[in-house]
Amino acid sequence: MTILYDTQSLLERYLTKLVRNPTLLATNLVTPVIFLVLFSQLLTKFGEFIPSTPGGYLAYLTPGVILLNAMISAPLGGVSLANDLNSGFLSKMLLTQVRRPAILLGRLVTDMTMAVAQSIITIVAAVLMGVQFSTGVPGILLILLTVAFFELALSGIFLTVGIRTRKTETISALSGVLFFPLIFISSAMFPISFFPSWAQTISSYNPVSYASDVTRDLVVGALSFNSLASGYALIGVIAVLTFAATMFQFRKVVS
């Protein structure tokens, strides 16, 4: 028996819980389509300002929507952990022989699975609406990988908050405060060149910009090693940092 067995056991638990909550599941899976249709239809004219992007604003927007959805489902893990802490289920798990990190890993893999599922739906919807993915199937697989890591980085933040505050309300409040600036002051939804200079500066440091630039290259550009490497390096560092922070907080709770 290994840590993989424990992680798999808990992954199955969380996925079963998701399936047992059809409203949450449906909401999570339909949201990407709504965002994609809403923004692309309302802002069709944007395409005229970005003639360099093949496929117009819809193609520009697709990576943004993929990341936006990952951001929206990231707090779920923190909420679930806070609930387990409050209900005593976490204590019950800690009284078993389960390997401690698996409790977090199981939850993180669940959130990653959810984000990847949402991305697949977004991609299918985008293709149906006419977006041509320039890098084909290998590119799409790389997009899914990007999203998985992006989710890992974000999810860790909320797991940490969940462990520390034990309050689901705090997590939802924080997600709003954190997400709007992060997603809108980045290159995810709109080209940076439209922003005032202060916002351009912030955006150039915003990790979400790196993630969306990498993803966008895969949608409308070409497979370029340099842009992939820099994007992955940054997302990777953040993912490692947030996971380490989460483990650190968790160990304090566990002992």
């Binding site: 028996m1 067995y5 056991s9 047992r20 005593g88 204590s91 019950k92 798990m93 800690l94």
Partner: protein
């Protein structure tokens, strides 16, 4: 908890009796590796708690006070997950799950989400979870608190069976006297984090000096006078104030009750209610602390009332 020291033998049914807030749950949390102790030595199943908490988790099962099940999962799924977390798998686990569902009589509802279970059903499933990996030692933190009489009796029967037939050592905390009295062969009474008495239930009860005579007085200012008179009655060993009146202790209360009534009558004290009872664990607690364990326990005590 302060200065607590006790040992429980293998195969024992051991009870930790005390009122709310006495430190019972804290003790269990320390013993089962959930809480860190500030000082002292603990060995569970012969394993040093400081050296190998993981080994302890392998050999003990724990039923926490608050029932913790995943309400989205079915009874079968909860039990199965618990088994997997205890490193079981395959056919061995499947068979164990069926066996336990049968034991706690939840086979019929095994496929329903536990969110739809009643309190008693949840407790029974939680007990099954604690047993999944065949622990040698079972910790139960107030297993029947908040349950109806029927569920309580069912839990008692399972526990008696586990101890008798499978030789599982049981460590139980409770605030219910009848629970400790019925189940435990060895009892420690605690209050405010301190051990105040230990022994078998009958030893403890004998230590109170025999039967109790409970007097209810309408005018509580008569207490000192009543105490004084009762002390002069031959056969009475001790007198204490109790809620609503005074309590006297005597070896054989039935034989001296006439004398008690006459003496009180002569002094002009007319109790509104008088009862004789054989000693309970509550009397043990009362004699050591001057308080009852819980006021609502009084109504459930077996008494033989004498109306005057």
């Amino acid at each position: 908890m302060e200065d607590i020291s006790f040992s429980v033998k293998e195969g024992e049914f051991f009870g930790f009796l005390g009122p709310n807030g006495a430190g019972k749950s804290t003790t269990i949390k320390v013993l089962t590796t959930l809480l860190r102790k500030t000082s002292g030595k603990v060995h569970v199943s012969g394993i040093d708690l400081d050296k190998s908490p993981g080994e302890i988790r392998k050999s003990v099962g724990v039923l926490s006070q608050e029932t913790s099940l995943d309400v989205d999962l079915t009874g079968w799924e909860n039990l199965h997950l618990q088994g997997r977390l205890q490193q079981m798998s395959g056919q061995v686990l499947d068979e164990r799950v069926e066996e336990l569902l049968k034991l706690v009589q939840l086979e019929d509802v095994a496929k329903k989400p536990t969110g739809r279970y009643s309190g008693g059903m949840r407790k029974r499933l939680d007990l099954a979870c604690a047993l999944i990996h065949k622990p040698k030692l079972l910790f139960l933190d107030e297993p029947t608190t908040g349950l109806d009489t029927q569920s309580r009796t069912a839990i008692w029967e399972y526990l008696e069976g586990l101890n008798k037939n499978e030789g599982i050592t049981i460590f139980l905390t409770t605030q219910y006297l009848e629970e400790a009295d019925r189940l435990c062969r060895e009892v420690s009474v605690i209050d405010h984090g301190r051990l105040i008495a230990s022994g078998t239930p009958s030893e403890l009860k004998e230590s109170t000096g025999g039967d109790t005579i409970n007097l209810t007085l309408e005018d509580l200012s008569l207490r000192p006078k009543a105490r004084e008179i009762l002390r002069t009655v031959p056969g009475i060993v001790d007198v204490m104030d109790s809620d609503g009146g005074v309590t006297a202790y005597a070896k054989s209360a039935g034989q001296i009750i006439a004398g008690v009534i006459t003496s009180l009558d002569r002094a002009g004290i007319h109790p509104t209610f008088l009862s004789i009872s054989s000693p309970t664990l509550d009397d043990v607690f009362l004699r050591k602390t001057g308080r009852r364990i819980r006021a609502d326990e009084l109504s459930r005590r077996e008494t033989e009332p004498f109306l005057m």
